[in-house]
């Protein structure tokens, strides 16, 4: 399979590989895919008090384009608000990495990983709000 130079670059020099404490309330973790399908992505985001993603880490079991797709999104989500991060679409990822048609599912998985990480962070915040008192809960849920 002929990969683009960008895929090979991310594959050979993956950005932001690592793990964060998934029990930290400021960290959102999204794990998507399945080993039997040949790819599992785990994306973690650290969100600051202003609601900005200040750090992101990933680990991926999968083919070269799955690794590249997840490496790329860790770069893209950094500095974004949660809402901005949620606007990243698989088509943007596929376009940036020039993924061949059979590898589009890798970019879909990367988009799913962002959504899962954001949702995990929000549900943790929601749970924290509930424990503090019911009033602010509605504001969180409205997102």
């Amino acid at each position: 399979m002929a990969y683009s130079e960008k895929v090979i670059d991310h594959y050979e020099n993956p950005r932001n590989v690592g793990a964060m404490d998934k029990d930290d309330s400021g960290v959102g973790t999204g794990m998507v895919g399945a080993p039997a399908c040949g790819d599992v992505m785990r994306l973690q985001i650290k969100v600051n008090a202003q609601g900005i993603i200040e750090d992101a880490k990933f680990k991926t079991y999968g083919c070269g384009s799955a690794i590249a797709s997840s490496s790329l999104v860790t770069e893209w989500v950094k500095g974004k608000t949660l809402d901005e991060a949620m606007t990243i679409k698989n088509s943007h990822i596929a376009e940036e990495l020039e993924l061949p048609p059979v590898k589009i599912h890798c970019s879909v998985l990367a988009e799913d990983a962002i959504k899962a990480a954001v949702e995990d962070y929000r549900s943790k915040q929601g749970a924290a709000q509930v424990s503090q008192g019911g009033e602010t809960l509605s504001a969180q849920v409205a997102h």
């Binding site: 080993p35 599992v40 079991y61 083919c63």
Partner: protein
């Protein structure tokens, strides 16, 4: 041919050594033509270019003589009579001719065929075609080690079974089926026995009498001969009949028409003779390299799984799964080595190797398998470099793998509800 290659040819050195290319460990996919074989082929492309079917002049007689010699060489290699050898374009065509040809000829006797789930696609796809034509095919399961269960095999035989087809040496996992026992069972039940020996000749002793084969497919390019040439052995006593699949001139006693490619045939004959001559010394040397590779990998990398029996296996093959890394990324990481993977991840279906699935391997382990094919020109230095690369790259990919991290934390991956996608 450049002058430097001619010099190498004359010194009988392999043409492979090239530091700019990946280490070649895919000898079950194909082999280079042995320089000794090439040397014998070349005159038949230029000076001795005649058509073996030309009976009226010396050009034809020279070609015919060369074809006859090669036919004898191939027959000798499998303990057959030269009149039992039919030239084809390769083992795939041989298998098509054997299965379709015999099925069509004997369809009045019965419509049932037996084969194994781990056969080469040439057999499986031909059987699928025969099913479309109204034949019934039993695709037998194999055991965890890749070997057929003889009791299950015998039990699959029905009164209307006409042919059974078995791969002598498996191309993916190198396991050797119990051919003599299978042959005995089939002869007792009067079922024709087709043997796909494409991966066997030159690796294990092949004797059509010892295994009571009725038909046998052979390939040139798997044993250091040229591509585009193969042969089908068709037994004369008791006589086995196959209906021709290619018509036009009645060559090869009517079984396969078409002008004979003299140079290819000469190459296959020479390769077959050399393969038998070098079988023991090749196997000893290659076996040592395989053991060195296996030990090197096992010493340096944890969580590896060997696919297929180690006991009933040719030394030329090693098939290993590396848990917690994905096959295609591993192949990509191993770009300095030319190997095959059990992952068919390049297709949209993400279908892993059907051979490894038939052994009961999980999709993950099937995806992460690597086939190392060691051959006549593999060196110890290449094996050592391969061990280094494997250890380094598997380690790197596991650093990247969330599954490896979970494994180290003691999480059972089977306990997790994965979302299918």
């Amino acid at each position: 041919m450049s002058s430097s290659q001619i010099i190498e040819l004359e010194s009988k050195k392999p043409l492979l050594i090239d530091p700019d290319r990946p280490i070649y460990l895919d000898y079950q996919a194909t082999t280079p033509v042995d320089p000794q074989v090439l040397e014998q082929m070349l005159p038949y492309l230029t000076h001795d270019f005649g058509n073996a079917a030309s009976r009226s002049h010396a050009y034809g007689w020279t070609a015919e003589k060369a074809v006859d010699k090669a036919r004898q060489q191939v027959a000798d290699a499998i303990h057959a009579d030269p009149r039992e050898i039919v030239w084809t374009s390769g083992a795939t065509e041989s298998t098509n001719l054997a299965l379709k040809g015999a099925a069509h000829f004997y369809s009045g006797k019965g419509k049932h065929i037996i084969t194994l789930r781990t056969e080469h696609k040439a057999t499986l796809d031909t059987c699928r075609q025969l099913e479309r034509e109204g034949f019934e095919v039993t695709y037998l399961e194999v055991q965890e080690d890749g070997l057929v269960d003889l009791k299950a095999f015998e039990a699959a035989i029905r009164p209307d079974t006409i042919i059974a087809s078995v791969l002598f040496v498996n191309n993916e996992i190198g396991v050797i089926q119990p051919m003599a026992e299978i042959g005995r069972i089939l002869r007792a039940h009067k079922v024709l026995f087709h043997v796909d020996a494409a991966q066997a000749l030159g690796k294990v002793p092949v004797d059509v009498e010892a295994i009571q084969a009725d038909m046998m497919s052979l390939s040139g390019h798997k044993m250091y001969g040229p591509k585009g040439i193969g042969a089908l052995y068709v037994r004369r006593k008791p006589r086995v009949r196959v209906e021709a699949q290619v018509h036009g001139g009645g060559h090869e006693r009517g079984m396969r028409s078409g002008t004979l490619p003299t140079h290819q045939i000469v190459g296959m004959g020479a390769a077959a003779e050399l393969a038998v001559q070098l079988m023991d010394s090749d196997a000893r040397r290659i076996g040592k390299l395989r053991d060195r590779l296996l030990k090197g990998i096992q010493d340096r990398v944890e969580e590896t799984y060997i696919n297929g029996s180690m006991e009933h296996r040719v030394p030329h093959n090693l098939n290993i799964s590396f848990a917690f890394v994905e096959g295609e990324s591993l192949i990509m990481a191993l770009k300095e080595i030319a190997v095959s993977s059990g992952s068919a991840c390049t297709s949209a279906s993400l279908e892993p190797s059907y051979v490894l699935r038939a052994l009961g391997k999980s999709d993950e382990l099937a995806h992460s398998s690597i086939r190392f094919g060691i051959g006549r020109f593999t060196t110890e230095a290449e094996i050592d470099a391969t061990i280094e690369l494997i250890a380094g790259k598997v380690g790197k990919l596991r650093e990247l793998s969330p599954l490896w991290e979970m494994h180290l934390e003691g999480i059972d991956l089977n306990s997790i509800q994965w979302a299918a996608h």
